[in-house]
């Protein structure tokens, strides 16, 4: 419930920047200077090597968000900003965790990982390293369920996002109009 409320305040911005030295520092500095809070941040070059994409999750109401976007646009190296509406975007995050677990309980963690369609990356006498890729909410759930076993180390990537592909023509509408013709 809390997570869902948080999600309303979370906005995911996809910021395309020129792939030049110091650009990440400029973006991060702007957030700090204008007192905006970054919730998560993921950066990597895009398919076009001249540009990198930053996926920034910010923690604000909608009005300051408009300011954030406008201030980001003022950075000379920022080329494009897209806000991802959670309803119209695919969002993914990766988690890697090492769980301390005795041999006798190992199957429980393995089972959990299987249920979540995660992977086991490494096994030792008293620990397992697992990974899970998925929607951030799913990752949250997995993390919660792993915790009781004893997490030795955990790292999440921060989310990345792309717009959902456009659906085909709205079929429901077409069907209903066909129906009205028949009747």
């Amino acid at each position: 419930m809390n997570d869902r409320q948080n999600d309303l305040k979370h906005h995911t911005l996809s910021v395309t920047v020129e792939n030049k030295a110091g650009v990440l520092a400029r973006v991060v500095n702007l957030f700090s200077r204008r007192a905006y809070n970054i919730y998560s941040l993921a950066v990597a070059p895009t398919d076009d090597e001249r540009f990198s994409r930053l996926t920034v999750v910010v923690d604000v109401e909608s009005v300051p968000l408009e300011q954030i976007v406008k201030q980001l646009h003022k950075l000379i190296n920022v080329v494009k900003i897209v806000e991802h509406d959670p309803r119209h975007s695919v969002e993914r995050e990766l988690l890697i965790a090492t769980v301390k677990v005795a041999v006798s309980d190992r199957h429980q963690v393995a089972e959990l990982t299987r249920i979540f369609e995660g992977r086991i990356l490494a096994v030792s006498h008293d620990a397992l390293t697992v990974s899970l890729e998925g929607h951030p909410a799913k990752i949250d759930d997995f993390e919660d369920l792993l915790r009781p076993f004893g997490i030795a180390e955990l790292q999440r990537t921060g989310r990345v996002a792309l717009n959902k592909l456009e659906r085909e023509t709205p079929r429901v509408h077409a069907v209903s109009s066909a129906k009205s013709k028949v009747s």
Partner: protein, 595 residues
């Protein structure tokens, strides 16, 4: 053509039309100083790097061309951070070139190394660390393009020594000069919007023609957009009164019947109240600064807002506009005029705004700017000094000021009739701004008389630049209003800290301003008696071959009024006590006959 990086840098500045560089050399920038000897560009050697920065700003304010400052790495660069922040706040086009340690030494805490691009990230519009000599022409072109287009601002270019040092192989480069198209293509993230949205302009025009109590709220953006003429045409077309913010003084003539003067914390009563009572504020190149709005929720509560600015981030930053227009003020105003004229031609008429105009003139009559003249034997009133300076100067005289009481009095009492005659530090409020800014202005406009109005506190911060002025024969004139205090701080302590004067006393005699000015190569006068004001100003105005300083001994108890206390609503504006009492008596006597 084979050049070394240093030659390429100077050649690039020449190609950009730079006529003067304000600077001070040092180890890392040395190789760039060598080709200056062979360049037609004038170099003015300052005594402190902060002076170079403010001179570049003063030059830019006065001429509209970007000011150029050049300093060395480390302390040279950090000394110019304040002018950069100042230029950023006031949108002044400026190029700052800093030396840097060699590329191989960056990050090693080398001698005089400072991460100046990191340090200045939040006080520049953009900055560059150039790592290859071949990039120099492109970066310089981009820097000028960025500094002068869109919302103007400072751009810093950091140049490591090895790429400009002819003895180093890294400095070798083949000269080229990028075309405009190449510059634009090289900046894919920089596309300022200059043309306003036609539909929004139509909406704005309709709103303007329907308003009953409209006010044009004009900011520094009008000057940056060179839009003073268009503004005047618009104001006269629809007969709407104009307030000019601290940054916009001179953008609309003070002697124009539609001019209400400066609004804000120390604005005049009519300008402040016109906005509070207005039903439509047409904000042009202004940014709803806290010094203008007072307490934001109480600011202009009845007004709809049309907000025109070239920086989209200003629209809705403080107050949500009803009609936001992103664009260059000059282009937008010209479009607005066209649309309004077309609507008028089709028969759209304005409501009668004479009741509004008469409300405003009523306020002007009751609450003019006023001060009590000094009693016999008292120190000078700063306002009377300013009136005398104003009335003795030619009307195109350029006035620069520092920051504090003297700045507010100058803005209030000077009558600005032309754009680009007022130069001050509005946003950052940088004490010590006036002397170097006046020097920069005089270099840019040698044909004009340039007065710096300074306080004694401000003067002590940057006075050393008068040595520069004397050495370079730049005949600026400085008026020090010496009240022996950090006057504005004293005023706040008197009004809000129960007259507990903490660390504001400076002494009238230490330093001896006349001796100091003379030691710096200036002609200097001291004025203590009202009768000496005019003759001394006349003497100063007659000197045109060296800098002049006049020290006026002024009354420390004089406060700047009107005043809206910090964080208070503009409706709580305080006028001077004697004026408040007079208005009260007048109101009472008006009622009497009815009894």
């Amino acid at each position: 053509m084979q050049l070394n990086g240093g030659q390429a840098l100077i050649k690039a500045l020449e190609m950009e039309g730079v006529e003067v560089i304000f600077g001070l050399p040092g180890g890392a920038i040395l190789p760039v100083y060598d080709p200056i000897i062979d360049s037609p560009i004038r170099h003015i050697l300052v005594r402190h790097e902060q002076g170079a920065g403010h001179m570049a700003e003063g030059y830019a304010h006065a001429t509209g061309k970007p000011g150029v400052a050049m300093v060395t790495s480390g302390p040279g660069a950090t000394n110019i951070v304040t002018p950069l922040a100042d230029a950023y706040m006031d949108s002044v086009p400026m190029i700052c070139i800093t030396g840097q340690v060699g590329t191989a030494s960056i990050g090693t805490d080398a001698f005089q190394e400072a991460d100046i691009t990191g340090i200045t990230q939040s006080v520049t519009k953009h900055n560059y660390l150039v790592t290859r000599a071949a990039d120099i022409p492109r970066v310089i072109r981009e820097a000028f393009h960025i500094a002068t287009t869109g919302r103007p601002g400072p751009v810093l270019v950091d140049i490591p020594k090895d790429i400009v040092d002819p003895t180093h192989p890294n400095s070798a480069m083949e000269w080229y000069w990028p075309t405009d198209a190449e510059v634009i293509a090289g900046l894919p993230g920089y596309r300022p919007t200059t043309v306003g949205h036609p539909r929004k302009i139509k909406e704005a025009a309709a709103m303007i023609l329907a308003a009953e109590r409209p006010v044009l709220y004009v900011g520094g953006g009008i000057l940056k957009a060179r839009a003073a003429e268009a503004l005047r045409e618009l104001a006269e077309l629809v007969e709407i009164p104009v307030v000019t913010t601290l940054m916009a003084r001179g953008a609309f003539p003070d002697d124009h019947p539609l001019c209400l003067g400066m609004p804000g914390m120390h604005g005049n009563y009519t300008a402040i109240m016109s906005m509070q009572e207005s039903d439509l504020l047409i904000a042009l190149g202004s940014r709803f600064d806290d010094r203008v709005t007072g307490k934001v929720p109480d600011f202009a509560p009845l007004a709809k807002i049309i907000h025109v600015d070239i920086d989209p981030a200003e629209l809705g930053k403080v107050r949500r506009p009803d009609v936001p227009i992103v664009g260059d003020c000059n282009l937008v105003i010209l479009e607005l005029i066209k649309v309004i004229k077309a609507m008028q031609a089709k028969g759209t008429t304005q409501p009668d705004i004479t009741p509004w105009r008469s409300t405003l003139s009523g306020w002007q009559e009751t609450y003019p700017l006023a001060y009590e003249p000094p009693a016999e034997g008292d120190l000078l009133k700063p306002q009377m000094v300013l009136e005398a300076l104003r009335d003795s100067a030619p009307e195109d005289c350029i006035v620069a000021s520092g920051v504090g009481q003297h700045q507010m009095w100058t803005s209030q009492y000077w009558k600005f009739r032309h754009p680009y005659t007022w130069i001050n530090s509005g946003g950052l409020g940088t004490m010590g701004f006036s002397v170097p800014a006046a020097i920069g202005a005089k270099v840019g406009r040698p044909d004009r008389m340039v007065w710096a109005i300074d306080g004694d506190g401000c003067f002590q911060m940057t006075a050393q630049e008068l040595v520069t002025a004397a050495a370079e024969r730049i005949p600026v004139k400085i008026a020090i209003l010496n009240n022996a205090y950090l006057g504005m701080v004293r005023q706040w302590q008197e009004m809000f800290y129960e007259e507990r004067y903490s660390e504001v006393y400076l002494s009238p005699d230490l330093p001896d301003y006349v001796k100091w000015a003379e030691a710096m190569g200036c002609v200097a006068f001291r004025v203590e008696h009202p009768d000496d004001i005019q003759p001394t100003i006349d003497k100063a105005n007659a000197i045109d071959d060296r800098p002049v300083v006049i020290e006026f001994r002024t009354d420390a108890s004089e406060k700047v009024f009107p005043m809206v206390a910090s964080g208070k609503s503009n409706t709580e504006v305080q006028v001077p006590e004697f004026q408040r009492l007079a208005a009260k008596t007048a109101a009472a006597s008006e009622k009497e006959p009815r009894q």
